[in-house]
Each structure stands twice: as structure tokens, then as C-alpha cells.
């Protein structure tokens, strides 16, 4: 037995094992989005589910991102066939209602679904406080680089994407972002991004 050679060989294998151990600290599925910090892609989409007063919009109205400048806008992509969307439904609906008096706008965007199924789903979930719009041919979803549903984008008053959330969102995440972006908070997207 030549212990010197054996030791050298074992030492040579240490970096490989260390590399694998390091691998556990990483999530390979996580793909950083280039969108936060950039200007939000424009959209003008037709309302199919009105929402509830005071946030309601008439069915058939067009909501355009441009008219929302000056407001914190929460864009939530969802579908009736999406199980995880059920989990976040009440958080979104209730947070929208709580911020009804401040310059915010919540919008649901129906993804890869039929409006009748979407409307049924809303009714089955006990209503939705804010309006949902149709995304014909998924143009907006493509513009936003949607990977799946649900995904939520929070857009600051100047029209920049401040935050992208993959998977069901919670009311505390929503609230902390909206609070930090509301005009009174005296911060902007760039500084919020930096502090995070």
C-alpha cells in the first residue's frame, strides 16, 4: 500500500465533492428575470369580469397601462385551470380592497382560458374585488415572459416593473411592495431593488 499516492488521489477528489456540496445551496430552476427595473411592456386589454365596487370596471372597457401612470399597478396572470391560483385568490382580492382608497390598481389577466370558464371560476371563488381582462392570443403574457401561472408583476407609478413574483403571492408581500412604492413612501424602484 502506497499511502502517499492514495492521499494525493483522495485530495484530488475533494474539489469534486465540494462542488456537489455547493450545488445543494443552489436552485438550478431559478431563472433571474431581467424585467425588474425595466419599463413594463404596454398593454390595453378588454375587461371580461367587472370586479366589485368600488374597484369595478364595466365589462367591455379597455384598461390600458398608460392610463395607470402615477398608480402602483398589480398585474396578476391567472387561469381557471390553475390550482395554485386558488391559493392566492383571497390575498389578492382582499389586499386590493384594503388599498381601494390609495392610488393603486389591481388587474387580473386571464391566461390561456375561456372567459366563461374564468367568470365561473370567479363566481365559484366567491367573487374578485378587482377587474380581470382578456389576453387574446397571450400577447401580453408573451411580452411579460410568462413561464406559468400564477405570476404577479408589481409596477411602480412611473411604469417600471418593481417586482416579479412566481407562484402564489401572499398579502404581506403585496403590502410591503405597495407601501414602499406608493408616492408618499419617497422611494423609487431603483432604491427598493437595491435595499433588497
Amino acid at each position: 500500500m502506497n499511502w502517499k499516492r492514495a492521499t494525493i488521489a483522495v485530495l484530488a477528489s475533494v474539489p469534486l465533492i465540494a462542488l456537489f456540496a455547493y450545488g445543494f445551496t443552489r436552485d438550478p430552476g431559478e431563472i433571474p428575470s431581467p424585467l425588474p427595473g425595466r419599463e413594463a411592456p404596454h398593454f390595453a386589454l378588454e375587461v371580461f369580469a367587472p370586479g366589485e365596487a368600488p374597484l369595478a370596471r364595466r365589462v367591455g372597457d379597455t384598461i390600458s397601462l398608460r392610463e395607470l401612470t402615477g398608480k402602483v399597478t398589480v398585474v396578476n396572470f391567472w387561469a381557471s385551470w390553475c390550482l395554485a391560483c386558488r391559493d392566492e385568490h383571497s390575498a389578492l382580492s382582499e389586499t386590493a380592497r384594503q388599498y381601494a382608497g390609495s392610488p393603486t390598481q389591481f388587474i387580473g389577466v386571464l391566461y390561456n382560458d375561456r372567459p366563461s370558464l374564468g367568470a365561473n371560476w370567479i363566481a365559484g371563488m366567491g367573487g374578485q374585488s378587482y377587474p380581470s381582462v382578456l389576453d387574446e392570443r397571450s400577447r401580453t403574457a408573451i411580452d411579460y415572459g410568462l413561464y406559468g401561472v400564477p405570476e404577479t408583476f408589481i409596477i411602480d407609478p412611473s411604469g417600471r416593473i418593481a417586482y416579479k413574483h412566481i407562484g402564489p403571492i401572499t398579502s404581506s408581500v403585496l403590502r410591503s411592495w405597495i407601501d414602499s412604492l406608493l408616492p408618499g413612501a419617497a422611494t423609487d424602484t431603483a432604491s427598493v431593488l437595491e435595499t433588497r
Binding site: 500500500m1 502506497n2 499511502w3 499516492r5 492514495a6 494525493i8 488521489a9 483522495v10 484530488a12 477528489s13 469534486l16 465533492i17 462542488l19 456537489f20 456540496a21 455547493y22 450545488g23 445543494f24 443552489r26 438550478p28 430552476g29 431563472i31 433571474p32 387561469a79 385551470w81 390553475c82 390550482l83
Partner: protein, 673 residues
């Protein structure tokens, strides 16, 4: 109840394995060889226990016993029986159980076949296999226990992953893969056994393990091809290989196993490469464990990654133990193992084998580096990168093309040495084959050096291998007046290893030809068609007939029926690409329809459809020679089977006496030097 019995069987197997593995070294050290029967008994008992647990799992799956956690996770009352049974390997815990069963089977077979061999090689090999089995038994007893009781018992389950219940090849690919992967444990166990029993400085152990390696190599090769086929038939992208980390992980041990199958011949013939061959055995096994680790730990992004819990940590610990233990054993004993033979002439078969090993190792290292690079980049530079086709194609293809060439050169060169003139003479016929197939490739539109070389070298190697058959058959025909069929059969029977090897070469060459042609000459178009409209791709025309829907117990099927039109617009067949919507998943599973012929495939996939049937978007891909890949895989396996059942070197058909016509080569019957 089932769960309880099976769980206890697995717990007992942990104890049995530990006992059997610990007894072996004591029995050998103390000279009480009768104690070795305890080790062998442990191997058999483990096989019985794990078989029981596996059988009970199948019973639980088939009877929808949702009180068993694994059944609750992958079972469903609406899943067809076949897919219920094969969901045994459809998720993590079940696949570990299946792995343990295959390993127990191999270990029992090795002990059964070699139990009477004198010396300590087999006892130490049995101990090594028990140690590996112990790891999997521990996983099954704890972190990957498939038999955890579920309470309250669910009424139904979600069914297997939808991608895995969409095609019958799922019944084929995974078991072949496990038979191949797990089988690599046997040569590894022999290698470790050889070192521990001081037999590594002879060639015996390598020859003993050759047949096991050949079997595992054939299983793994067939599994890779079946996996390519599955991906082609199910994923709807018209491709069969994407250099995904897990595909690479199955390819790596296949490369080193191929290198072993060649280097062991050099070791046997020329008494060279002993340490190298042993290293290949060890590396092959380590690469299988590495591959499993990469699939099961989730540290690399891959389509195959199972959802995992803590099992990755156990695998990491296992890899670390295996690496350290084998490196200590191999490096610590390397001076004793190293062989002393030397190379014959430059133009000799062993030179070609050395080059073959060099290139196979180069391909293996390239693929390994490419696979692990994303992890390295993130560790060192903190950036996310993905390494894809361009890297692998640019880095690995040249060496693979060179390997095709060597496949043609090797068979026509003798062991030892030959003159340059003789070597040149033997290259004439293959060179003609190269010119013909190369020209066909160019005429068909192949451009670029490697594309043309690939065609030419396939032509070279096919002729080079067939020529060996021709020479041998002609010699028998002339010498004994045998008919050509008899001559072929007796030729193969006389030296199964050699002629089986050539058959395997032909199989690999078919695969290479299919891959080359289908990747160079692929043409595709996608279009939205109204009923009656046609789409033409590379002289193939399809016409949309109808879009339809159908309900099945576990899924809704949307399909499009398209007529395939001949040259004059007549209908020569239909294709029905479908999309299957399984009730448990939001994602449809595409089910392309493929019309195959020797010349290639017409591949039609349904990309989108209008629910009212007004129109459908289809992708039509024309891929020449794809069926040759699947067929080549089969030929490769046939070659391996021929080579596996050789009767040893001493029992052979007596060499043909020199006939009136002088034999072209003196080595027709491969006499032992």
C-alpha cells in the same frame, strides 16, 4: 398490512446485508472459508427480501392500496393496468426500490455463477456488492421509504407523472437503464475484489468481469436508444437527444464501458493496460452513481429531475465514500497492478485500441465538463449559465467522427504488427466504401467537414467490418466447401467475441448514420390548416381532414386526422397526431404521429387547435434515416448477445486447414499467440 410486511422485509435486509458484508473479511483473514457461506447466504437472502418488498409494492399498486405512501403519490384508479405496474419506477422511492431489486438480482447471480471459483476474488466482490446494496437498503429503510403508512386512506391518487403514462416505451427504457446502470456494479465489485484479494496483477478478474460488463453495456446502450425513442415519440419536438444532464449521465458510463470492452482485449492479448482497464471499471461505476446523484439530487436543471427531499445528501455522502475508498485502493496499489507488456508495431490493432480508448475518454471528459460546467460557473463566477448543444456538438463531434473511422480501421489490422504496405492493401475496400457513402452524402446536400467525414467514415467502417465476415466466410467456403450460410454460422460460432463485436460495430454505425442524416437533412414547417388545406415539407404533403375529440377514463384526447398525399395527390395513408389532456395536469402531453420507412420519418405533431374544430396548427418534420437509429440499437444488442455466449478461448472449432487457394490472411481463425 402490505406496507408493514414490506417495510419490515427491507429493515431485515439492512441487517442481513451488514452481517454478510462484515463476515467476509473475517472469514478470509481467519482462514475459515466455510464462513463465507454466510456471506453468500446473505446475498441470496437479500435477494429474497427485496424481491418480496418489490412484489408487495406491485400488489399494492395494482390493488390501489392508497394506505401505502408511494401508491398514494403515483397511483390512480383511472390509470390503465400497464402504467399502474410500471409506475413502480415512475417516481423516486419506487425507482430506488427497483434499483435495490436489480442489484440484489445481480449480486445473487454473480455469487451463483462464480461461487466455486477458488481464491478470494468472489468473496470480496460479494462483499463489495453487499456494501453497495447496503446503501440502497438504508435509503429504503429511511429517507426513501416507499411504504410509509398513510392515514386517513385517500379514496384515489393523482396517477403517475403524465409524461410517463403516455407511451409504452416507459415500460422498456427505465428497466433497461437500471439493468445497465446497476450491472456496472459487478465489474466494479470484481475490480475491488481483485485489489483486495491481490489478484489485480493477473488478468483473470478482468476476463471474468468482461461478460458482466458486456451485458450491462448492452442494456445501457439499449436503454439510451429506447430513451431517445421515447423522447422522440412523446415530447413532440422531433428530436431524440438534447445533451440534457441526465442524458449525458447515461452516456458517460456507456463511454467508459465501451473503452473497457476494448482495453480488456489489449490487456488479455498483450498484457498491457492493466491499471487502465481497472480504472475504467471503477470509473464506469462511479459515473453511474454520479449520474443517479445528478438525477435524484436536483442540483442540475434537467427534464428528468425528480422532486427530491433529503436524498441528495445521502447520495453525496455515498459518492464521497465510494470515491475515497476506491481511490485509496487503486492509487495505493497502482504500482503492483501496473502491467508490463508492450506495444506491437504502430500499424497494429492495439494501437487502434489505444486511440479508441483515448478518444472515448476524451468524449467522456468533454461531456462531463459540459455537464458540470453550470455548477462550476456558479460556484466560481456566481453566474448562471447553461451549456447546450453548440458546445457538445463542437467539442464532442470531432472525436466521435474519429471513433467511427477507428471502428473501420481496427478490425482490418492484426494484433502485433504489420507492414505499411499490407496495412495499405487492407484499406482499399473500406476506402471505396468511404468514397461511395461520402459522395452520396455530398450529393444529398451534406456540407461541412465533419458532416461529410461522418458519412465517409461510416462507409469506411461498414465495409471494414463486413469485409472481415467476407474474408472469413470465403476462407471456410474454399477450405471446407461449406455453403455461405453454414460458413457464416460456423465463422461466428468459432469466435463469437470477435464476430459479435463486428455486429455491434455495424449497429453503432447504423446509429451514427441515422443521427448524421437526420440532424443534417432535417426539414420542418409549422402551419395552421383549415380542413382540406395542405402543407408540403421536403416533398411530403399532408392534408388536414378533421379535428376531433374523445374522452378516455384518465384523459381527454384531442386529435387531428391528416391524409398523407402521394406524388399525384392520391391518399397514401393517414396520420393522427394528438394532444392528451390528463385530468391531473394542466399541461397537455403531445403525442406526435410518425410514419416511418427505411428512408426516414414523416413526423407530424399537433401544436394547437381550435376547440370547435375549425382549424389546427401542425408541425411537420421530415427526418431522413431516423429508424436506422432504433434498428442500429437492436443490432448492437444482437452483437453483444453473440459476444456474450462465447465458450472461452480453448474450446473452438478447429482452424481451417490451408486450402488450395492461399488464404489472404494468416489470422482467419484467430489462433492464440
Amino acid at each position: 398490512m402490505i406496507g408493514l410486511i414490506a417495510h419490515n422485509a427491507l429493515l431485515i435486509s439492512v441487517a442481513v446485508i451488514a452481517f454478510g458484508a462484515i463476515v467476509a473479511p473475517f472469514a478470509i483473514r481467519s482462514g475459515r472459508r466455510e464462513w463465507l457461506q454466510l456471506t453468500y447466504g446473505a446475498v441470496y437472502t437479500n435477494f429474497v427480501l427485496v424481491s418480496l418488498a418489490t412484489a408487495l409494492m406491485i400488489v399494492a399498486l395494482v390493488t390501489h392500496d392508497f394506505s401505502v405512501s408511494y401508491v398514494a403519490a403515483v397511483g390512480s384508479r383511472s390509470t390503465p393496468l400497464l402504467f399502474t405496474v410500471i409506475s413502480l419506477w415512475g417516481a423516486l422511492e419506487g425507482s430506488i426500490l427497483f434499483w435495490a431489486w436489480v442489484l440484489a438480482l445481480y449480486a445473487a447471480a454473480v455469487v451463483w455463477f462464480h461461487r466455486d471459483r477458488p481464491g478470494n476474488l468472489v468473496p470480496y466482490a460479494a462483499m463489495t456488492m453487499l456494501a453497495v446494496a447496503g446503501f440502497f437498503a438504508l435509503l429504503l429503510a429511511g429517507p426513501a421509504d416507499p411504504f410509509v403508512p398513510v392515514w386517513p386512506v385517500p379514496a384515489d391518487g393523482p396517477g403517475p407523472n403524465t409524461l410517463l403514462q403516455n407511451h409504452v416505451l416507459m415500460a422498456v427504457h427505465p428497466p433497461l437503464l437500471y439493468l445497465g446502470y446497476v450491472g456496472m456494479t459487478v465489474p466494479f465489485a470484481f475490480a475491488i475484489g481483485a485489489i483486495l484479494s491481490n489478484e489485480a496483477s493477473s488478468n483473470d478478474w478482468a476476463i471474468l468481469s468482461r461478460r458482466w460488463m458486456l451485458a450491462s453495456w448492452a442494456f445501457l446502450g439499449a436503454a439510451i436508444i429506447a430513451g431517445m425513442w421515447w423522447s422522440y415519440e412523446v415530447l413532440g419536438w422531433g428530436g431524440y437527444w438534447a445533451w440534457d444532464p441526465v442524458e449525458n449521465a447515461s452516456f458517460l458510463p456507456w463511454l467508459t464501458a465501451t473503452a473497457y470492452l476494448h482495453s480488456v482485449m489489449v490487456q488479455e492479448r498483450r498484457n498491457m493496460l492493466r491499471l487502465w482497464t481497472l480504472n475504467l471499471c471503477v470509473a464506469t461505476f462511479v459515473l453511474t452513481i454520479l449520474g443517479t446523484f445528478l438525477t435524484r439530487s436536483g442540483i442540475l436543471s434537467s427534464v428528468h429531475a425528480f422532486t427530491t427531499g433529503t436524498i441528495g445528501y445521502y447520495f453525496l455522502a455515498f459518492i464521497a465514500v465510494v470515491l475515497v475508498a476506491t481511490l485509496v485502493l487503486v492509487a495505493g496499489n497502482s504500482e503492483r497492478i501496473r502491467a508490463t507488456g508492450n506495444l506491437g508495431g504502430v500499424a497494429s490493432r492495439e494501437t487502434v485500441f489505444l486511440l479508441n480508448n483515448l478518444f472515448l475518454t476524451a468524449v467522456m471528459l468533454t461531456v462531463l465538463v459540459g455537464t458540470l460546467y453550470p455548477l462550476v460557473a456558479e460556484a466560481i463566477r456566481g453566474v448562471k449559465v447553461s451549456v447546450g448543444e453548440p458546445f457538445f456538438n463542437r467539442m464532442a463531434v470531432p472525436a466521435m467522427v474519429a471513433l467511427i473511422f477507428l471502428m473501420g480501421v481496427g478490425p482490418s489490422l492484426p494484433w502485433g504488427s504489420t507492414t505499411v504496405a499490407e496495412a495499405r492493401r487492407r484499406m482499399i475496400a473500406p476506402a471505396i466504401g468511404a468514397a461511395i457513402l461520402g459522395a452520396i452524402g455530398v450529393l444529398a446536400g451534406a456540407r461541412g467537414m465533419y458532416a461529410i467525414l461522418a458519412f465517409a467514415f461510416v462507409g469506411y467502417a461498414v465495409v471494414g467490418n463486413l469485409r472481415e465476415y467476407w474474408i472469413g466466410m470465403r476462407a471456410r467456403h474454399n477450405a471446407h466447401g461449406e455453403g455461405w450460410g453454414t460458413a457464416l454460422l460456423r465463422l461466428i460460432r468459432g469466435n463469437r467475441r470477435r464476430y459479435g463485436g463486428y455486429v455491434a460495430h455495424i449497429g453503432v454505425l447504423f446509429v451514427a448514420l441515422g443521427i448524421t442524416a437526420s440532424s443534417i437533412f432535417r426539414s420542418e414547417r409549422e402551419a395552421t390548416l383549415l380542413p382540406g388545406e395542405t402543407l408540403t415539407v421536403a416533398e411530403h404533403t399532408v392534408r388536414l381532414k378533421s379535428v376531433w375529440g374523445r374522452e378516455e377514463p384518465q384523459r381527454s384526447v384531442i386529435g387531428a386526422t391528416l391524409d398523407v398525399l402521394g406524388k399525384d395527390g392520391e391518399v397514401i395513408g393517414t396520420v393522427e397526431p394528438r394532444m392528451n389532456y390528463y385530468h391531473v395536469s394542466d399541461q397537455p402531453v403531445p403525442t406526435p404521429d410518425v410514419r416511418s420507412s427505411l428512408r426516414g420519418d414523416l413526423y407530424v405533431n399537433l401544436s394547437a387547435f381550435e376547440p370547435n374544430g375549425a382549424h389546427a396548427t401542425v408541425k411537420v418534420i421530415v427526418e431522413p434515416l431516423v429508424p436506422w437509429i432504433w434498428f442500429g440499437g437492436l443490432v448492437m444488442v444482437v452483437g453483444a448477445v453473440i459476444g456474450m455466449f462465447h465458450r472461452g478461448r480453448r474450446t473452438r472449432v478447429p482452424p481451417a486447414p490451408v486450402a488450395s487457394a492461399p488464404l489472404p490472411e494468416p489470422r482467419v481463425m484467430e489462433t492464440v499467440p
